[in-house]
Amino acid sequence: MSAAPQKAKPGAEQIPVTVSAVVPLNELVTRFEFKRTDGQAFPTFSGGAHTVVTMNDDGRTRLNPYSLMSDPSDTSMYAISVRRDDNGRGGSLFMHTRVKVGDQMTITYPVHLFSLDLRARKHLFFAGGIGITPFMAMIAQLERMNGNWELHYSVRTEALGSYVDELRYKFPNKVHVYYDDQNQAIPLEDLLDGQPLGANAYVCGPKGMIDWVHATAEAAGWPDAQVHSEEFLAPAPGKPFEVRLCKSDMTVQVGENESLLEAIERAGVEAPFLCRGGACGQCETDVVAYDGDFIHRDHWLDEEQHADGSKIMPCVSRFVGKSLELDR
C-alpha cells in the first residue's frame, strides 16, 4: 500500500525537553527531571520503559538509554537516574558534569523492553545498584492498581543506596535492602521457594546478578517465561577497524571508543535503532562479506546467527580482521 508514503526515521519519536531539576543522590548517582519544552503533557507509559537521551557533547552526539523512573501516571514530568561511570565512554560523565537546570535536550518517547506481566498474581523484584530505576516506576504503577509486589534491593553501602530511605518509608513491609559491605546477600533460594503459583520475578542489575537469578530460578523449577530481566549493554571499546558500507558506497573507520553504529551515523548514513543496547533488534544489519572475526555482544541474534557471520548488531558488536562489508 502506498496511501501516503513516509520514510521511517531511525529511533523512536523525539520529545524536546527542558531540564527542570538536577538532584545528586549520592557520590555516584544523580537524578535528572525533565519538563516538555512545549508545555504539553508527556505520554504516560508502563513501568520498565526507557528513554534514549540525546546529548550534544561538543559536537559529538551521544545517545544513551535510561530507564524512566518517575510515576507513570504523572504526565507533568519524566525522571531518570544516572550512575556516573568514570571508565565509561563519556555519556554518564557528560550528564553529571555538563547538564544543568534549564538546559534544552531531546529524549525519545517511552520504549518498552521490560514490561510487567499483567497476569502475575505477585511481582517479585530483584534490584542491584542502579538497577533500581525501572522498579521505581513499576512500583508506582502497581500501587495504583493495588498490585501485589515485593522488592529485594542489593546495594554496596548505606551511603550508595539510592532511594532506600524513600522506599523504606513508603513501603516498610514490602522493601528489603541488603548491604554488600555488611556481608548481606539476597536469600534468593529461599525467596524463590514458596512463592504463590503465578508469581513472576524481575531482575535488573549487573550481568552476574541477572545470570544468578535466572540460573537459581531455573534450578528451583521456575518457568523461564516467568523470570524477566533487563540489562543494557554499553558498547565496549575495542581495536579500531574499517567497514565498507555497500549501499552507501563508502568506507568508514570505527574508532576505539565508538560503536559501529555510531561510526555509521557519523558518516551520515541513516541506520535504524531503538535501544542502542543490543536488546531490541532494530539495528540488525546483514553482512555482505567478511574476512576476520566478529565480537558479538548482543542479546538479539541467536547462536546460529552469531556463528554463521550473516548478521551483526552494530550498536554493541565489533569486528577484528582484514575486511568487513555491510548491507547499509
Binding site: P5, E13, S46, Y109, H112, D117
Partner: protein, 357 residues
C-alpha cells in the same frame, strides 16, 4: 466538516449504500495491476485530506448504522466481545486513545472533558453523554474496551505482548472476514494465523511479528487487507456461516454488479501506554462492483488482479467458484489501457473507459 449519516442495513434488505463521497474515498487496496502478500506496512500518521487515512480513527457516513448492527450482533452472541482478566488495563488504554483521538479529530461530533480521573464523554451521533471515573470500571455500563468499541467502527483485537510474542487476549469482533474471536482467544500470533496459505512459507508472519513487536508509542502503523463478500454483510463470521455462506451461490450475471462487494480492511496498530499491549483495529469498508467500476482506473485494475490471482488465494478468500462470473462482469470495464501507479482514483488524469473486451 459535517457528516450525513446513512439510514441503512447490513442484513435482511441490505439497504447499505455508498454516497459519491464514500466511493471516491474508498480505500482501494491495489497499488499495481497484480497482488501478492507482502508486509505492506507504513506509518499511520495522517494522509491526504478527506481520505480514510487522514484521521487516527476514520468516522464516515456508515458510523451510526454500523454501531446499530454491532449492538444486534452482540445481543445474539455476547462472546463476540471478550477480555481476559489481565487485559482490563489495556481496555482503559484503548478507551483513552479513542476518546482523545475522536474528540481532537472530530470536535463537532465528540467531546471529552477531563478533570483528573473524572471524565465526561459526549458522543453526539449516538446521543451519549456519560460521566465516569477513569480506571474504575464500576462507573461504566460495560468494561472499558466494550464500552468504547460499541462506539467505534471496525473490529478491535487487543494483543498482549509477552515473551517476544503477541497474544489474542481481548477483542471486539463483529465485522470479521470469516474468523472467530471465541475460537482464537488466548492464541499466539502464529497460532491464529495458521489457516493462511502461502504466507508462512514466504516468512511473512515471522517478519510481520518482528515489526509489530517493535511498534512504539507515538508511532502507529497501518496496512490494507482485502477479500470478497456477496451482499453488504458486516458480520461474515464462522458462527453465522450457515446464514451467509449460502448467499455466495445467488450471484447471476444480472445481479453481480450490485451484490458482489470488494471488502477492504484498513488495519492499524497502536502501542498502548500503560499495558504495553498492542491494539489492532480492523476497519471494514465495502463497495459494490457497480460502484467501484465508476472509477475507470479501479475497474481496469480489479479485473487484472482477480484474473491473475493464484488459485490458493482465490480459494482462501472464498471466491474461487465465483471467479469466472466476476471476470465476465469486470472484463467489460477493462479496455486494456495502462493504469497509473498508486491506490488513488486519479479521476482527472486517467482516461475514461474505451472499448473493452
Amino acid at each position: 466538516m459535517t457528516i450525513q449519516f446513512n439510514e441503512e442495513t447490513f442484513r435482511d434488505d441490505y439497504s447499505f449504500y455508498n454516497s459519491d463521497w464514500a466511493i471516491k474515498r474508498f480505500p482501494f487496496p491495489f497499488h499495481e495491476d497484480s497482488y501478492m502478500y507482502s508486509v505492506n506496512m507504513e506509518q499511520h500518521r495522517g494522509g491526504p485530506e478527506g481520505s480514510v487515512y487522514e484521521m487516527r480513527f476514520d468516522v464516515d457516513e456508515h458510523y451510526v448504522s454500523e454501531m446499530k448492527d454491532r449492538a444486534m450482533v452482540l445481543a445474539d452472541d455476547p462472546l463476540r466481545c471478550q477480555s481476559l482478566p489481565h487485559m482490563t488495563l489495556a481496555g482503559w488504554d484503548l478507551l483513552e486513545l479513542i476518546m482523545v483521538s475522536k474528540s481532537e479529530d472530530y470536535p463537532d461530533l465528540f467531546e471529552l472533558h477531563r478533570d483528573g480521573d473524572h471524565w465526561r464523554w459526549i458522543n453526539k451521533p449516538l446521543g451519549i453523554d456519560d460521566t465516569f471515573t477513569f480506571l474504575d470500571e464500576t462507573t461504566l455500563p460495560y468494561g472499558p474496551m466494550e464500552y468504547i468499541t460499541r462506539q467505534a467502527q471496525g473490529d478491535f483485537c487487543v494483543l498482549d505482548q509477552r515473551d517476544e510474542m503477541l497474544w489474542m487476549d481481548a477483542g471486539m469482533v463483529t465485522t470479521q472476514a470469516d474468523w472467530s474471536l471465541d475460537f482464537d482467544i488466548g492464541m499466539n500470533f502464529f497460532e491464529w494465523h495458521a489457516p493462511v496459505p502461502l504466507a508462512h512459507e514466504m516468512g511473512i508472519f515471522k517478519r510481520a511479528l518482528k515489526f509489530l513487536l517493535n511498534i512504539q508509542q507515538g508511532a502507529p502503523a497501518r496496512r490494507l487487507n482485502w477479500t470478497m463478500t456477496v451482499n453488504p454483510l458486516l458480520d461474515t463470521s464462522p458462527e453465522n456461516y450457515h446464514k451467509w455462506g449460502i448467499q455466495k451461490t445467488t450471484l447471476t450475471p444480472e445481479n453481480i454488479g450490485a451484490k458482489q462487494h470488494l471488502r477492504v480492511e484498513l488495519q492499524t496498530f497502536f502501542r498502548l501506554p500503560r499495558s504495553n499491549a498492542l491494539v489492532f483495529p480492523i476497519r471494514c469498508y465495502l463497495i459494490s462492483f457497480q460502484d467501484l467500476v465508476t472509477v475507470p482506473k479501479w475497474g481496469r485494475r480489479l479485473h487484472r488482479v482477480v484474473r491473475d490471482l493464484p488459485v490458493e488465494l482465490a480459494t482462501y478468500k472464498g471466491f474461487i467458484d465465483n471467479r469466472p462470473l466476476m471476470l465476465d462482469y469486470l472484463g467489460k470495464f477493462d479496455d486494456g489501457q495502462p493504469t497509473s501507479p498508486g491506490v488513488f482514483p486519479d479521476l482527472d488524469t486517467e482516461p475514461p473507459l474505451g472499448n473493452a473486451s
